[in-house]
Amino acid sequence: MVAAVLQVRELRADYGPVRALAAVSVDVPQGAVTAVLGGNGAGKSTLLRAISGTMRFHGGAVTAGSITFGEQRLTGRTPAQIVAAGVVQVPEGRQVFARMTVADNLRAGLLGAAGGRGAAQKSLARVHELFPVLADRAHQRAGLLSGGEQQMLAMGRALMARPKLLLLDEPSLGLAPMMAARIADTIREINAQGTSVLLVEQNAALALRLASTACVLETGTVAVAGDAAELAASDEVRRRYLGVADEDAAADAEAGIAEEAERPVLRRWVA
């Protein structure tokens, strides 16, 4: 198996008193897609923040463990240095620069990148080809884009920098099925071009289909890790994260009903 380009070892991260990660170890093999699954609050975003060195923006910090990218040790580096090393993140919840135009948002994506005008032009062309809407809206304020459009912008912005390692936090969030599929293709494509990817995705089916290796976070610790296909096969993961325990909608509905049965019913409010 290929050498890991990103090695996370025994990582611990706290938000003040709140412990978000405890002794998490994850590998991203060179040129591979690695998926990170996990429920709400499992610590997925925290993991990415720790790698990109942005914990302090959330009043948090990495309190133990190490992160190495290739030869370099990332722990303790500034976000800018980490980007310069080739590690770029698409943060959770889009985070486009709302008051800047779409075009300037894309330019912002170039700030940390090496390479001259030519490279920039090429990246821009590629992003526009992936997401034509970004070309049409070049001069619209990013904040006015629709949710999905903003998601595309965030993705495109990250791609501008031509990263070595791409960290994606729920890239398909709020995307229409077709667009989700397009994102999936994109990930495949850039991965094929040699970019390693660490993919955090609620849409586990999609994630496991893309990834070669995967791990499942649960309340700040790695519950399962290994080959994506194997995980996809394991009942545990299928039930918890693929929601495909019972294939047919009927049973699904039953499950729903069953749930409702034991769920307290909300009575009508009579003032």
């Binding site: 938000y15 996990g38 429920g39 709400n40 609050g41 959770e92 919840g93 889009r94 809407v133 006015l144 884009l145 629709s146 949710g147 999905g148 459009e149 998601q151 595309m152 729920e170 398909s172 969030l173 709020g174 995307l175 229409a176 099925p177 077709m178 667009m179 989700a180 599929a181 999936a184 609620q202 849409n203 586990a204 089916a205 999609l206 289909r209 918890r240 994260y241 693929l242 929601g243 495909v244 909608a249 699904d252 509905a253 499950a255 729903g256 749930e259 409702e260 769920r263 307290p264 019913v265 909300l266 009575r267 009508r268 409010w269 003032a271």
Partner: protein, 271 residues
């Protein structure tokens, strides 16, 4: 008991959207869109990113002004109402990009939903008049009921802003429910949730409809959930309505497949 509730419930009024058109500088976000939400039904609006779904919600809730067309809730014309006037009519919504405060606790966030149902103003609360205290107590109880119903009770004291994404979505739903709405507008209520959470939330939505007998207008990209919940589906594309009907009908509509679902149907969501 659900049924008895429904019998006693005053039948909610239909929502009629007629030739709704919204233009922004240089683009038409909605173009003569018409549809009707039958009382007590769950009506889904789907469509590619940027199709105009949220814009439609923004008009319904008085955030945007319609350029043309009309929106009536029963006899009441909404297009000329301010957003708080619309809220007073019993229209509640959640937001696609979460609109919660980082500092305010979940409890207070939910209580904000009770604003339209309560009356005590500066003087009453400032002087702590008995009327104000009574009102506060009464509505806190109801708020707890709703929190319990959604499973938010453990988090009531937490600041809403730092909860994990999925929980924040639930808090938004709770805030909307606290308005005791007659019409509930949900903009991607289950985006960013794990399959199990999706099922849970989906269950909540249908149970709310059943037990309260209110109408729900739902925007969601997760076809699985749309299929399961919706009675009727309206499909938008580039601001135009391209299809309408039962979930089954629209799912097999070639236009819809081409514009939205995509041939290879790689939705990856529950289905």
């Amino acid at each position: 008991m659900t049924t008895t509730e429904q019998r006693t419930a005053p039948a909610p009024q239909p929502l009629e959207v007629r030739d709704l058109t919204v233009r922004f500088a240089g683009l038409t976000a909605l173009d003569k869109v018409s549809f009707t939400v039958a009382p007590g039904s769950i009506h889904a609006v789907i469509g590619p990113n940027g199709a105009g779904k949220s814009t439609c919600f923004n008009v319904l809730s008085g955030v945007y002004r319609a350029s043309e067309g009309s929106v009536r809730l029963g006899e009441q014309e909404l297009t000329r109402c301010s957003s708080n006037a619309i809220a007073d009519l019993g229209v509640a919504r959640t937001f696609q990009n979460i609109a919660l405060s980082a500092h305010v606790t979940v409890a207070d966030t939910l209580l904000l939903g009770r604003h339209r149902l309560t009356t005590s103003g500066f003087v009453a609360t400032g002087l702590r008049l008995p009327s104000a205290r009574r009102e506060e107590a009464l509505h806190r109880d109801r708020m707890r009921e709703i929190a319990a119903f959604l499973g938010l009770e453990p988090y009531l004291a937490h600041p809403a802003g730092v909860l994990p994404y999925g929980l924040q979505k639930l808090v938004e739903l709770g805030r909307a429910l606290c308005m005791e709405p007659e019409l509930l507008l949900l903009d991607e209520p289950i985006a960013g949730m794990t399959p199990s959470e999706r099922q849970h939330t989906a269950g909540v939505i249908s149970s709310v409809r059943d037990s309260l007998g209110i109408s729900v207008l739902l925007v969601e990209h997760d076809m699985g959930v749309v299929m399961r919940l919706a009675d009727t589906v309206t499909v938008l594309d580039f601001g135009r309505k391209i299809a309408e009907g039962t979930p089954a009908q629209v799912q097999n509509d070639p236009d819809v497949v081409r514009a939205y679902l995509g041939e290879n149907g790689e939705t990856g969501h529950i289905s």
